[in-house]
């Protein structure tokens, strides 16, 4: 059996069948449009919607007993931050700096507002080792590339326990702006 060459006489070329040919073409087009549209919409919802949904605001995390926050000297504490990411709820550690002046407690995020490095303690305040940004003991900007002062986190005291609501803020912005 030989392959059929294109010169073989082919039926269905008569003008009378042209109408049928175009009708079939329309049906074929509709079918494939429907298949593509159904898949397209589903794929769009599936792959994009979860990326736009909220990651879930962080709950109050324990920082430690209030008694153990010393006067005048900042202490570094890790808090457990729970974040929903798809199939998991991820508990990860984040660092905060806690300062106390009498009754006045302040909890700073240890993430540098510039590019997110971890802020260290310095002689009379804080410094970021990556690009040399500096803040005073109240977290106010002294110098360096940081666009703003250290980010203050919301805290509260429950019984003896100091708690913090850990949040993320937009890096590089002049004003503190929450993300997520």
């Amino acid at each position: 059996m030989q392959p059929i060459s294109n010169s073989t006489e082919v039926s269905g070329e008569a003008p009378a069948s042209a109408k049928r040919r175009s009708f079939l073409g329309v049906v074929i087009g509709l079918i494939w449009s429907a298949v593509t549209a159904t898949l397209g919409v589903t794929i769009g919802r599936y792959s994009i919607a979860p990326a736009l949904s909220s990651t879930g605001t962080s709950e109050w995390a324990d920082v430690g007993l209030l008694d153990e926050i010393p006067e005048g000297k900042p202490v570094k504490r890790s808090v457990v931050v729970s974040q929903n990411a798809g199939w998991g709820r991820f508990n990860s550690q984040r660092l905060v700096w806690v300062t106390r002046k009498g009754e006045q407690i302040t909890v700073f995020s240890a993430a540098c507002p510039h590019l997110g490095c971890t802020i260290n303690e310095a002689a009379n305040g804080f410094i970021c080792p990556c690009h040399g940004s500096a803040w005073n003991a109240d977290g106010e900007k002294l110098g360096g590339p940081t666009p703003r002062g250290m980010d203050v986190l919301e805290h509260r005291v429950e019984g003896d326990m100091l708690k913090v609501k850990y949040q993320y803020f937009k890096q590089g912005a002049a004003q503190k702006e929450q993300v997520g």
Partner: protein, 578 residues
């Protein structure tokens, strides 16, 4: 012609001059079909479509799927229950797999009946046979990926069958498993095969298959009378293909909507799950029942080897030009025998499961458990330690049999649970002190109730404990990082003696061989509990109902002598964490 249309035509021309798309489209659509378009020819295109669906939905599933024994099940549950459109896409993939097996068989059957492997089409047919094996490989490797009960036990049986093949079996089983056991490494291997190796192989061979087909040309109908009539692929054959594909697509969508793809509870290697393979492997499964022991090689090795040997050799053995199935009685009879045999074995295995009351009850229960799991809302998996790294660091976990453990059982276990993981009233104490950065001083004060308002919580003030006892308890709580029962059962291995025979015969079935608990609760440390002293237990064994114990605890133990009871109770008391 509108301005837009003419602009479109210009773009098409531009592309055509560079990429030759017009010629490509023409050669695709103008494929000559000898004898004209037929519904019998729709299966090939449908398989290409189904492969595309599997590829697209598979890639999408991979956005969220994690090929690790720890997370695979959670990630599939997330796709199935939580992601918008996830159940639909997974349903398409799940039912698409079955559809592919069905349509492959239909495609082979049509080609076989029409004698379309004849006339210099040996390679085309052989490549098709390899494609069939690859489709089964997809089915086998994909089955494990959700890591639910069915996946785990089905694959365990499947790989064990492979291991029984003489000579090459044990080695190939090890290579498949990535070791001696079905572990997360197996999952990684199956995943790699399923999403990288097999798609690559199938894609390349599919291109070769289509190339060989276009080169040989459509065989046309087996009766030669209108052999001279030739139609182009477009429009009639494409129309028929599209209609059939659309029906298949709608069926898959409908199935995915009405009967969501199955997903049972996560794999539990300790359970007595009754494994049944996917329906397309049921013929093999059923045959295994008839060939026990060494004879099992007949269905697992000999029969598939003969079947695929026949398939591969068919175009070389059958050299006659005759294509009419009626005039090829032997070939047609073999086909009908194979197909009815396979279907018959599937039906038979289903029937036998249904006829056996034990199996049918177990399968029904498993099915209900899987359905119940699908109905429960998605629960994200808890990942990572929940204890801050700046929490007080401790050297040792709670030591079993220590003084603080005795204090715990006497005072705390009623509310916080015998294993300290939390009871009906009190919360879990595991890691509590570390998670909340609690100090020794704080805990000793808390236990005694100093600085606690009586109305603030329901926990009693343990002022009757001495300063020293509170200190020991606080120290112990600071270190407590695992359930107490675990610590207790560790101590148990270091010499409580073997359980008395009377215990093994009467109690072990429910309470575990070493009283560690099964259907019935653990009895380790039971004599520390209120109303469960040794004397109490002796009375309890005479009349469990009087102690508030309900069914399934028996109402009496007539088979036990007083000596038996004493032996059991004395042994149980030795289990008490000392």
């Amino acid at each position: 012609m509108s301005a837009f249309a003419s602009r479109l035509a210009k773009v098409a021309d531009w592309l055509d001059e560079r990429a030759g798309i017009k010629r490509l489209t023409r050669s695709a659509l103008d494929e000559p079909i000898r004898g004209g378009a037929r519904w019998a020819y729709v299966f090939g295109s449908t398989l290409v479509f189904l492969f595309a669906i599997q590829a697209v939905t598979g890639m999408l599933l991979a956005i969220y799927y994690v090929p690790s024994a720890d997370h695979a099940h959670a990630s599939v549950a997330y796709i199935q229950k939580a992601v918008p459109g996830g159940a639909l896409l997974r349903g398409l993939h799940y039912y698409g797999a079955s559809a592919m097996v069905i349509i492959v068989v239909a495609h082979i059957t049509q080609t076989f009946l029409y004698g379309a492997y004849k006339g210099k089409r040996e390679l085309l047919w052989v490549v098709g046979g390899v494609l069939f094996i690859l489709v089964l490989g997809f089915a086998f490797t994909g089955y494990l990926l959700p890591w639910d009960q069915e996946a785990y036990f089905g694959t365990k049986v499947g790989t064990s069958i492979a291991g029984e093949v003489p000579l090459v079996g044990p080695l190939s089983q090890r290579i498949m498993l990535g070791g001696t056991e079905l572990t997360t490494l197996t999952l990684s291997r199956f995943f790699t095969a399923h999403v990288f190796l097999l798609p690559l192989a199938l894609g390349l061979l599919l291109v070769l298959h289509i190339y060989l087909f276009r080169r040989a040309g459509a065989a046309g109908p087996f009766h030669n009378k209108d052999d001279q009539r030739v139609e182009r692929f477009y429009p009639k054959q494409l129309f028929k293909d599209s209609i059939f594909i659309f029906i298949i697509f709608l069926s898959l969508l409908l199935l995915a909507e009405i009967m969501p793809a199955e997903l049972g509870p996560q794999a539990d290697p300790t359970s007595d799950f009754l494994a049944r393979p996917a329906w397309y492997f049921l013929p093999l499964f059923q045959l295994l029942k008839y060939f026990p022991g060494k004879l099992s090689l007949i269905p697992t090795v000999v029969l598939p080897a003969v079947l695929f040997g026949l398939i591969f050799l068919l175009p070389f053995l059958d050299r006659r030009a005759e294509r009419n199935p009626v005039r090829r009685p032997v070939a047609t009879a073999i086909l009908i025998f194979s197909l009815t045999g396979a279907v018959g074995l599937i039906v038979l295995s289903k029937y036998e499961d249904r006829a056996n009351p034990e199996f049918s009850a177990k399968l029904k229960q498993q099915d209900e458990e899987a359905k119940a799991f699908l109905k429960t809302a998605f629960q994200p998996q808890e990942i990572g330690r929940s204890v801050p790294i700046t929490a007080p660091q401790v050297a040792n976990p709670a030591e079993a049999g220590s003084t603080p453990l005795k204090i715990f059982f006497a005072n705390c276990a009623n509310c916080h649970g015998a294993d300290a993981t939390g009871g009906p009233i009190g919360p879990s104490l595991i890691n509590l002190a570390r998670a909340r950065n609690l100090t020794f001083d704080y805990l000793t004060r808390w236990i005694a109730g100093h600085g606690r308002e009586p109305s603030a919580d329901s926990m009693p003030r343990y002022k009757q404990l001495t300063e020293e006892e509170r200190g020991e308890l606080a120290d112990w709580l600071l270190k407590l990082d695992k359930p107490v029962e675990q610590a207790a059962s560790e101590s148990q291995t270091s010499g409580d003696g073997e359980p008395p025979a009377a215990f093994s015969a009467n109690c072990a079935l429910c309470h575990g061989d070493r009283a560690e608990g099964n259907i019935g609760p653990s009895l380790i440390g039971v004599t520390s509990k209120p109303n469960r002293t040794e004397e109490d237990l002796l009375k309890l064994l005479n009349n469990p109902r009087a102690f508030g114990l309900k069914d399934p605890m028996p109402a009496s133990f007539p088979a036990l002598t007083e000596d038996d009871k004493r032996a059991i109770v004395e042994w149980l008391d030795r289990l008490k964490p000392k």
